[in-house]
């Protein structure tokens, strides 16, 4: 834009008297300079960088605090080469002893494509145990370490090998090295027992919702060494573990495995949510230097300059039976509390209140059980009070457990001055020892209610309660069906069974047949001669059968009658007339003229004469004459049948 103006400016600045006359309409030199400067200023103003610089004040970049926290964490080392190790712990064991096959890979667990089954290990029956991931600080980076544990109890002495196999890590194939195990019966006695965790549940015969204490013991060590545990987990299905109730501590324990001393115990509350036989096992990382350079030490040791080694240990599964809570006899106010509880006398924030003013009711519940998960009983629906749902104890679960008590706080509003005590709040719990529900309703507390400034409309309250949604009835597992009920040959629907579409052809065939029949009937109605001829042919065949029979029987009268009958029925369609009404002349009229006077005509006349004679007089003495005419008669009948 400026260059466009420059020639104009240059021309304008040419000295006067140079003979050049500026063209009309162009600005004078000072004004052109001003224009050039103005355009340059606008260009600078529109440039993005310049605009930013000319902004009133730069805004500071606000970083998301969570993002800032994440960015401040050390990075995870995923660049180092993957160097897996595979060892047996211990590498030498006695027959029947618990041995752990442990594979450790310095990679993130999510990046490892671990096979569901290990390659063939021969006589070793490896059972999958715990697996977990640990991030350990290594300089400025987090070093990932993933461990997979398998367990075996070899029964026979010998030398066992788990061959090397390939696993995909970060998309590349990595070889897990070979691991060897020596099982001998003559191992020295001073070798310590294999390290593994011990899980105890107290008690083991429990009900759904009953909190039990789960204790994880670290493996014992000689002397006063206490092995700590990190990332303690209890695995299994059908229960939840309250991590907030964890109580790790060091305690003196009874001698175990010939060793006595202090033991690290991780205690936590476990609550089963499903009934049946459940199984749980514990896993944790132990901090020690038993494992270095792929070898297992005989005990905890401190190697100078060696970073702490974390070894994933696990316990044998613990099976425990969980019984379902009985549905029968479940009283009002049961909110899932299982244990032994005692409701202490409730406390009111004040013992004098006006109608419409709120008052706090504090209820303290002591006992043994799942206090942390104790749900306040629902507020009752009473006419004289409006009760709001209780507030849970805001204290930390560990404080609740330490106190052995929890508190609920209800807010009550009196609706009229007739009330002299707070309503009873139904509450009950299930006692696992007595195996029955116990009523522990929160008793009422005396209070003085004075009339309020504004009367409460009880009708509105009643209407609100009545219009409230009814309590949802939870479905339960039904009883068994007494009878099999509606049955079928197969679950496959009829549409997909091969015979059903074919069955649909049956009505189609029936309709088609009906249509054919109807067409035929119409044809016969339009062509009656066809029907007459068909009937004549049928009658002729019948007469010919009679003829044959009479001939065989040498019955001349019957032969003659059958012959005349045959000729009549064969000729009747030509007239049309009733066959019995025809005479010999009618038959001769059907024959060709040349045949009427010949042998054929004589045959016709002869038979008619014979039948007339039989009817009106006697037969001629020689009846065999007629029987001898059979061939000519058959020829005549063939001719007549051909004309039908």
């Amino acid at each position: 834009m400026v260059s466009f103006l420059l020639p104009t400016v240059a021309q304008a600045s040419s000295p006067a008297g140079s003979g050049r006359v500026p063209p009309p309409g162009r600005a004078r030199p000072p004004f052109r300079r001003f224009l050039a400067l103005a355009y340059a200023a606008c260009f600078c103003w529109l440039a993005p960088g310049a605009r930013a610089q000319l902004a009133t004040s730069p805004q500071p970049v606000v970083r998301d605090p969570l993002m800032a926290l994440m960015l401040s964490q050390p990075r995870i080392d995923v660049e180092s080469p993957v160097q897996p190790t595979a060892t047996f712990d211990p590498p030498m064991a006695k027959p029947g002893e618990r041995v752990t096959y442990r594979v450790v890979i310095n990679a993130l667990e999510a990046s490892i494509q671990w096979p569901d089954k290990l390659p063939d290990t021969g006589n070793l029956q490896l059972e999958a145990g715990a697996h977990g991931q640990l991030l350990a600080m290594n300089g400025a980076l987090f070093k990932p370490s993933t461990t997979f544990n398998y367990h075996v109890r070899p029964k026979q002495p010998g030398h066992f090998t788990v061959p090397a196999f390939s696993v995909e890590v970060y998309g590349k194939a990595v070889t897990i090295p070979t691991a060897e195990l020596e099982v001998r019966g003559d191992l020295p006695a001073h070798l310590p027992a294999p390290a593994h965790l011990q899980l105890e549940l107290e008690p083991t015969n429990i009900f759904v919702g009953q909190a039990v204490k789960a204790r994880v013991y670290s493996p014992p060590h000689p002397g006063s060494v206490v092995q700590g545990l990190a990332q303690v987990q209890i695995n299994g299905e059908g229960f939840i573990v309250d991590a907030a109730t964890a109580r790790p501590r060091v305690e003196a324990t009874a001698p175990r495995a010939g060793l006595s001393g202090m033991t690290y115990i991780h205690e936590v509350l476990l609550t089963p949510m499903a009934s049946g036989r459940l199984s749980a096992f514990a896993q944790a990382y132990s901090v020690d230097n038993r494992t270095f350079a792929g070898a297992i030490g005989t005990g905890p040791s401190i190697v100078p300059g060696q970073a702490s080694q974390y070894t994933l240990l696990d316990s044998d599964p613990v099976v425990f039976a969980v019984k379902p809570l009985p549905h029968e006899g479940q009283p009002e106010g049961f909110t899932g509390a299982v244990g032994r509880f005692e409701v202490q006398p409730p406390q009111l924030s004040t013992n004098e209140v006006r109608v419409g003013d709120p008052v706090k009711l504090t209820v303290r519940v002591r006992g043994e059980g799942n206090l942390v998960r104790l749900v306040a009983p629902p507020p009752p629906q009473v006419r004289d009070w409006q009760v709001f749902a209780g507030e849970q104890d805001p204290n930390h679960p560990q404080i609740i457990l330490a106190q052995g008590a929890t508190t609920f706080t209800y807010t009550l509003v009196p609706l009229n001055e007739k009330s002299q005590a707070t309503p009873i709040i139904p509450f009950s719990y299930f006692d696992p020892d007595q195996e029955k529900y116990v009523n522990a309703s929160i008793p009422s507390v005396g209070i003085t209610v004075e009339p309020g400034a504004v009367p409460v409309d009880l009708g509105v309250m009643d209407q609100a309660r009545s219009s409230a949604a009814p309590e949802e009835k939870l479905p339960v597992l039904s009883d068994l069906a007494r009878e099999p009920g509606l049955a079928a040959g197969s679950l496959v629907p009829l549409q997909r069974q091969p015979w059903f579409p074919l069955l649909q052809l049956a009505p189609a065939v029936a309709f088609f047949g009906l249509w054919i029949w109807k067409r035929r009937q119409q044809y016969f109605e339009a062509h009656p001669g066809v029907v007459l001829r068909r009937r004549a042919r049928r009658a002729l065949r019948r007469q010919r059968r009679l003829l044959g029979r009479a001939a065989r029987d040498r019955n001349a009268p019957a032969f003659a009658a059958a012959a005349v009958g045959a000729m009549r029925v064969a000729c009747s369609p030509h007239y049309p007339a009733e066959p019995r009404a025809l005479v010999g002349g009618d038959v001769l009229a059907v024959l060709p003229e040349t045949s009427r006077g010949g042998d054929t005509g004589r045959v016709v006349r002869r038979f008619f004469e014979a039948t007339d004679g039989t009817r009106y007089g006697g037969l001629p003495e020689d009846g065999s004459e007629l029987l001898a005419l059979r061939p000519q008669l058959e020829h005549l009948l063939d001719h007549l049948e051909g004309r039908l």
Partner: protein
């Protein structure tokens, strides 16, 4: 022996036969032999299994009860048998098989309220979702599946017959015939969506095993897209080797054939 003894020779007005012996032995043997394949004769066996399963269940032997109910259902699928099978499977903590059995019970008899309640119960307890049904599939759940096939077939041919037979027989069409034909045609048209619903609902299945991996490709080392819960609904799309392509509410992927139980088993 049955013998045919025509009198004389040649064509006769009719045939005559007479049998030797009081009752044809061969016919008797045929009746006895075929009676073993008659449904009435086998009814005692699958009913016996049903009753044995009930006894085992009431005695607390849920595993044996499940096996007996399964055998009874295999011999003759019945709504009550499948309901009990589901109960037994639920007791031995196999929710996938339990949900499948109850769904099959409702497949045969939608009026089985106990099976419906059990499905609600199981889905609430195990936090499972119900299968999403299209409107025509919902219609198909109103009646037993086989009823729709008969309703569609009978109504179609009845409508055709009522409309065409008077013309075939040369009769005058009356008002009631036409009205009946229209009504039956309406029944047919209303049953057609349910007919399609039955066909599409037959592809519905449920995951049988816990944490079933949903694979990206039909291979053993395929990447896992998700983990499916036992009892989760999935629609069968197609098969490839030992894998089947299924569509769930979350994703579409491959699982092993043995990990999916279809309401309507396929060959």
């Amino acid at each position: 022996m049955i013998g045919i003894f025509p009198r004389g020779f040649g064509p006769r007005p009719g045939w005559r036969f007479r049998a030797r012996g009081s009752l044809p032995l061969g016919l008797l043997l045929a009746l006895v032999f075929s009676s073993s394949s008659l449904p009435g004769f086998c009814a005692s066996s699958w009913r016996d299994l049903f009753q044995q399963g009930r006894s085992a269940y009431l005695g607390g032997d849920y595993t044996n009860a499940a096996a007996l109910f399964r055998r009874s259902a295999a011999a003759r699928p019945a709504s009550g048998t499948l309901q009990n099978l589901g109960n037994a499977e639920w007791q031995i903590q196999r929710p996938g098989l339990a949900v499948l059995a109850w769904e099959q019970a409702c497949w045969l008899n939608p009026f089985n309220q106990a099976a419906r309640n059990n499905l609600d119960f199981a889905r609430r307890e195990a936090q499972l979702e119900s299968p999403e049904l299209a409107w025509y599939e919902v219609v198909s759940t109103w009646l037993p599946v086989n009823w729709w096939a008969w309703i569609t077939g009978v109504s179609f041919w009845a409508a055709l017959g009522l409309a065409a037979l008077p013309a075939f027989l040369g009769l005058r069409k009356t008002g009631w015939q036409q009205g009946a034909a229209a009504f039956v045609l309406g029944v047919f048209l209303l049953s057609v969506p349910a007919h399609f619903g039955v066909t599409s609902r037959a592809r519905l299945g449920f995951v049988l095993e816990r944490n079933t991996p949903l694979r990206l490709t039909p291979t053993d080392d395929a990447q896992y897209l998700a983990r499916l819960q036992s009892g989760e609904p999935a629609r069968f799309e197609r098969r490839h080797g030992k894998f089947v392509l299924v569509r769930t509410s979350r994703a579409e992927g491959w699982i092993e054939k043995t990990q999916l139980g279809l309401i309507c088993p396929r060959d």
